[in-house]
Symmetry: C2
């Protein structure tokens, strides 16, 4: 392809470095951006700059926030004796959308994955252990039920249990509305193992 | 969901206004952007601003360019007597990638679509007709073979033919590598109608 426009090609290059954006989608997005009114693209560029500059991580739970401490950790009504450990901010948001959990969170920033070179030191585990020196009654391990999430939960349970704090793991089983016939064997086995008396 | 971060939510909102980016992908992209080194997000934001500000449309063919006239129209080696009419910049790039066509282009900026309220006046047709007052021997209609693209080609053929300029339409038929059994009937009929002696 001949040289078309330096600034256009730079934009395509930057967009295609975003996760899930291939070179074709990047081109499509770039055309959209240059054909929009300039105020729209300015707004997008400014939103990127402002978010990158201003969004912090809560110094208690590591969740994104505009302040030093996030609105959940600051909330006086929430139960400070329960901490739910999640892999990332999106998982926290998913639980908050449910709206039933009234304790605090701790965002690890990932899960243990030897393949990706992520060990306990790459995650906010030291920060979690520091929080546990205060009056905490229960730690809920809400990492994903993937291999990495399970390994992380097992690791955390092993180091938290000796502190005489109750450690629980979110239930694994058949999703609500799920068709038994379409569910994988590991999940079905978990659902069977985790059966509760009614 | 509780209020998380003003700047973060603004970023998600802006990203989700891009075509093909839903609220979930916008969230994923936003997390990626805020977790990157700040230089990366600055580079993306600047690329957006620069492209939106600097990328122009060639005053001859309407293709995007950094200058008044694009590198194709400026290229002395290209045959100025043949103009290939395409719907948009991406189609031009697709043809340039083939690298066989040595004439000029004209980017319409879309196709006639009464449903979307796009008539001939919304496209760069006046500009095309102006170019045809110069020494042009052939106009190749390379609009899509969709209903809109066909309608646009028919419309253009009708107004260009009386100017005593050869008008051609790109061939429609079985794509190279295509399995006959999987190809739609209209395409197969076109392939039959457009058969060439060997």
């Amino acid at each position: 392809m001949n040289f078309i426009s330096k600034d256009f090609e730079k934009l395509v290059e930057e967009l295609s470095s975003l996760p899930g954006v291939g070179i074709k989608s990047a081109g499509r997005l770039a055309f959209h951006i240059i054909n929009e009114p300039i105020e729209k693209s300015e707004a997008l560029a400014n939103a990127i700059k402002n978010a990158a500059k201003n969004v912090k991580h809560c110094k208690i739970c590591n969740m994104i926030t505009d302040d030093e401490v996030c609105s959940i950790c600051k909330n006086e009504i929430r139960n400070k004796k329960i901490i739910m450990v999640v892999e990332n901010d999106r998982d926290l948001i998913a639980y908050e959308k449910v709206g039933k959990y009234k304790g605090l969170y701790h965002v690890l920033g990932g899960a243990i994955s030897p393949l990706l070179g992520i060990g306990p030191n790459e995650l906010k585990i030291k920060e979690l252990l520091k929080r546990l020196t205060q009056d905490v009654e229960e730690v809920i391990l809400a990492t994903n039920s993937s291999i990495e999430g399970e390994a992380t939960a097992t690791y955390l349970a092993k180091i938290i249990k000796p502190l005489n704090i109750k450690v629980s793991r979110i239930a694994s089983g058949v999703p609500v509305g799920g068709d038994i016939e379409n569910i994988d064997e590991v999940t079905l086995f978990r659902a069977y193992e985790g059966r509760v008396e009614i």
